[in-house]
């Protein structure tokens, strides 16, 4: 009697109707939290570490300048290609013209430079930024861990 009764028991099918909703929630979370990767970074750089950092908000108003080493040479990368210091100004101008008017006021240039880059390059870039009046800059860095 008992054995036959057990055999009659059926495990109910798992209801997966809510699964898509769940995954959609995760998807939306990622869409909000992350941002699309824009550039393929060719130069190698390791940002310095600091303690007084602030977060870069408003991604739409940010332009990036990468300065790092490429095959042992210090190079500047704008968008996807290498550039010289003289091209920085044109780059900023085009970047600014592509921005929304309200973003143009708050345009920030994030300098992602390697630790070991000589200051001369940074200085030159800063001077060109000044001349095109892109005066809000951000020295990209990572948080120093307190050990």
């Amino acid at each position: 009697m008992r054995i036959s009764r057990r055999r009659l028991h059926k495990v109910p099918a798992l209801n997966t109707a809510a699964l898509p909703d769940l995954i959609f929630t995760v998807l939306f979370f990622f869409m909000i939290v992350t941002h699309m990767r824009k550039d393929v970074v060719k130069v190698q750089y390791q940002v310095p570490t600091g303690t007084e950092l602030s977060r870069l908000t408003k991604k739409s108003a940010v332009s990036y300048i990468y300065i790092g080493s490429y095959h042992g040479e210090t190079r500047i990368q704008l968008n996807d290609k290498f550039a010289s210091v003289d091209e920085v100004q044109d780059y900023i101008r085009t970047e600014r013209s592509q921005m929304l008017p309200e973003d143009q006021q708050q345009m920030t240039v994030s300098i992602k430079a390697d630790k070991d880059v000589p200051m001369g390059v940074i200085t030159d870039v800063k001077q060109s930024l000044r001349e095109v009046r892109a005066i809000r800059i951000n020295y990209s860095a990572s948080q120093k861990e307190n050990n």
Binding site: E52, D116, R136
Partner: protein, 168 residues
């Protein structure tokens, strides 16, 4: 006839694969996006200056001036005396509190100095101002940057600007 029609039911939509589709979308976003938060030191560069302003900077009383010099071998000289970068913050705080709003910090970094050394110096400066502003809320930031390049070029960084976080 009528009764027969009522019995007919709309077949249920098969939504089993919705999960798979959304999974694919999820994975696409995971691959194509980056989550790294951009952090850094916010600074405000000065606008291009006229000749008069440059001269103004050079006529500063010595007692109100502190010079920071970064040499090619990444050593920091404060008022021509060697100082470890860790002690710069307390030194600056003392200086700013003593002189008050009239103070001026002059930075001169060698072209061969490393960016890291410069950054650490800037970091200490920001830290010093942050501490000072706990006490004196409206302490202006007066930093002049000179370059030992061909032209003597003065750059006042973040003069009178609130540096902490910058504007939103």
């Amino acid at each position: 006839m009528l009764i027969k029609r009522k019995e007919r039911s709309v077949p249920e939509l098969n939504a089993t694969s919705t999960a798979d589709i959304s999974f694919i979308l999820l994975i696409l976003f995971l691959v194509c996006s980056s989550m790294d938060v951009d952090k850094g030191l916010m600074r405000q560069l000065p606008l291009p200056e006229t000749q008069e302003q440059q001269e103004q900077v050079t006529n500063v009383e010595k007692s109100k001036l502190m010079t920071l010099r970064l040499t090619a071998d990444n050593q920091l000289f404060v008022d021509d005396k060697l100082l470890p970068v860790e002690q710069l913050q307390s030194r600056l705080e003392e200086f700013i509190c003593r002189v008050g709003a009239e103070h001026l910090i002059s930075i001169d970094a060698d072209r061969q100095a490393s960016y890291d050394a410069y950054f650490q110096m800037q970091n200490e400066i920001v830290a010093a101002y942050r501490h000072v502003r706990l006490k004196y809320k409206d302490m202006p930031m007066r930093i002049a940057e000179t370059y030992n390049s061909q032209v003597h070029n003065t750059l006042k960084e973040g003069v009178g600007e609130n540096l902490e976080g910058g504007q939103p």
